[in-house]
């Protein structure tokens, strides 16, 4: 598969059989273009970090990957995004099923105003993944376990989720996403509202989740990108400037702008 690249900087060898790809992706908010010809491959069971200064389009790009931008008025998208080689913007794709395969965790923890149990059970219930209460219990427990939250909340499952601390709430949101058994999990700055200890826990969790899920994470913290990701993509002004192995991006960036950003000269 030949990667069509806009400039030589992005000419990074295409990975074999990527989980998701973006090809010549352009996005407009009414008349403002927010993404320019983005080409990116997401490798299965790896963590891909999207970094870049504020307003560079990395969150917008992330939201293209599970069609969350559909909920915003006035957005037009052209280009192609695939999941397992199928175009997710194809008319035959049901966005509901798509989002069940591609989960999302948001910047601010956003548990529903329900009990801890019901938060995790929400996805399995609406997708009809379970036939009995026991199966549901099973899913809720495994998901909480996977999110590293079970020990802390197992005695208070019927309590409102809003009573948890910020870090616990964010891990609950991860458990909620995991409960639908997605293949890809998108995370939009999942630690920006958390303190350092909670952040460390979530990062640890991301590292563990990698063995089962493909993860794309938007982050403002370069240390975080270096710690949790295997691949890093640098966005600037709506363009994908450079993508590669995280080690390479941080130690030997090819593009001047990448170098400037990771050494703190701008952004």
């Amino acid at each position: 598969m030949a990667v069509v690249t806009q400039s030589a900087m992005t000419a990074e060898p295409s990975v074999t059989s990527p989980k998701m790809t973006a090809r010549d992706l352009n996005l407009f908010y009414s008349d403002n273009q927010a993404l320019f010809d983005v080409n990116l491959d997401i490798v299965e069971r790896q963590v891909t970090a999207l970094i870049g200064p504020s307003g560079c389009g990395k969150s917008t790009f992330l939201r293209c990957m599970n069609r969350m931008n559909d909920t915003i008025d006035g957005v037009t998208i052209n280009g192609k995004v695939t999941l397992d080689d199928r175009d997710i913007y194809d008319k035959a794709i049901d966005v509901v099923q798509l989002r069940a395969r591609i989960g999302m965790v948001f910047q601010k923890p956003n548990p529903f105003p329900k009990s801890i149990y019901d938060n995790v059970a929400y996805g399995p219930r609406i997708h009809g993944l379970v036939n009995s209460r026991d199966e549901l219990d099973e899913i809720v427990m495994t998901s909480l376990e996977r999110a590293g939250l079970l020990k802390e909340v197992k005695d208070r499952l019927p309590e409102p989720a809003t009573g948890l601390s910020g870090g616990q709430q964010q891990r609950l949101c991860i458990a909620r996403a995991v409960a639908v058994s997605p293949e890809v999990i998108l995370m939009d700055e999942p630690c920006s509202a958390l303190d350092p200890i909670a952040t460390a826990k979530v990062e640890e969790l991301i590292d563990e989740l990698r063995s089962n899920y493909t993860i794309v994470i938007v982050t403002h913290s370069m240390q975080q990108a270096a710690r949790v990701s295997q691949r890093t993509a640098f966005f600037h002004l709506g363009k994908l400037v450079e993508v590669g192995e995280t080690d390479q991006i941080f130690t030997n960036p090819k593009d001047e702008r990448t170098k400037g950003y990771i050494t703190g000269r701008f952004g």
């Binding site: 599970n66 969350m68 909920t71 008025d73 966005v95 509901v96 099923q97 798509l98 989002r99 069940a100 989960g103 999302m104 965790v105 948001f106 601010k108 956003n110 548990p111 529903f112 105003p113 329900k114 929400y122 996805g123 609406i126 997708h127 409102p160 809003t162 949101c173 909620r176 996403a177 639908v180």
Partner: protein, 459 residues
Amino acid sequence: MSLTFLLLAVAALCALSFYFGRQRAVALSGGRYSNLHSLPAHYGTYTAMWCGIPALLLLLVWYMFQGSIIEAMIVSDLPAEITGDSGRLSLALNSISLIAAGNGEHLSVDPEVVEAGQRLANLQTIANAALVVVMLSTAMIGLALSYRKIAKEMRARNNVERIARYAMIACSGIAILSTVGIVFSLLFEALHFFSKINPIEFLFGLEWSPQTAIRADQVASEGAFGAIPLFVGTLLITLIAMFVAVPVGLFSAIYMGEYASSKFRAFAKPALEILAGVPTVVYGFFAALTVAPFLRDNGAVLGLDVSSESALAAGLVMGVMIIPFVSSLSDDVMSQVPKSLRDGSYGLGATKSETIRHVILPAALPGVVGAVLLAVSRAIGETMIVVMAAGLAANMTVNPLQAVTTVTVQIVTLLVGDQEFDSAKTLSAFALGLVLFLVTLGLNVFALKVVQKYREKYD
């Protein structure tokens, strides 16, 4: 000097003192405002307040006492045979004030009274002149004192803000006191009524027929004051109204807030709110002239005996009236549900309707319940539609096809026309009003409690 002129004079003095105070502060600052504790305008406002407020307070106190003091002076000069008899005294005082106002030429009264009338006119002139002098000098003194107090270090800003705070306290005090006043006026008349009619009979009696004999020689019924039929009627109509308003209001709010395109919403929301602007009288004759005959005719086709004034007609139209109330309040609370919750639900693959049912409505529930309860208390208190469309017959029925009557309708009919305020018939209006007030108050308190309880649970 008339009152208007006096007030204008004080206002002019205030403006002057603002100017002087500001000028003095500017002069003290030596050209640099940062040398002052506050901005020059604060010093101006400070002087203006000290000029105006004491003078106005004085005016208030003066008018409170002027009448009774002058009256006492007049009465003390009247002969004992007049002052001894309270009926004669009030008659004499009436004539005196007429004479003082220059309208007493045709009165044939005692010379003492005529003399007292002239005296009253004199006293009033003196009092008015004194008021002008006292008030203007108070304003001047306030101006002079506060002007002298202006200094670089003086905290004019803090003083002005403190006075503004007192003014706000006074305003909220007025609002609260007038509510208390209304309650007490209701309460006293109602107690008066309950001294004639047993409260138990009033609250639990099953028959309402307030027509009593006005004169002793009249032939009329005894009168029965059992309020239950009225409450049943009120409840029935409220219930019908809620059956219309809650689903229609709620679903239109959901459509407007969640589904409608912004173009449609821009047109439809104001259109819906026009409903709220229709005067209730208009709803009333819509109910009486259009809906009620329509129901009667169609009922006849179906073989139902629908009365031409029916609870159903009034309730349906009242429901329509309340729709915008329910829909705009629920729309407000639903749009306050944070976007992050919607995103979370969509991100899990929920459809729009699943998101609304499982996330938005539960989160907005306290507000929706509050909106519905407020709508209920509005429906209970609504008068005009039921006066015109529900009828006057105090039937004890839950059949919506018959005429019923409500508490508010009865209050209106009891108080319309010439009434004497010591018969049980008239006084019963106040007892009904009191009960109505207590019911709506209870509902509002309950609504607030519900809202608070759920808010704790969901935040």
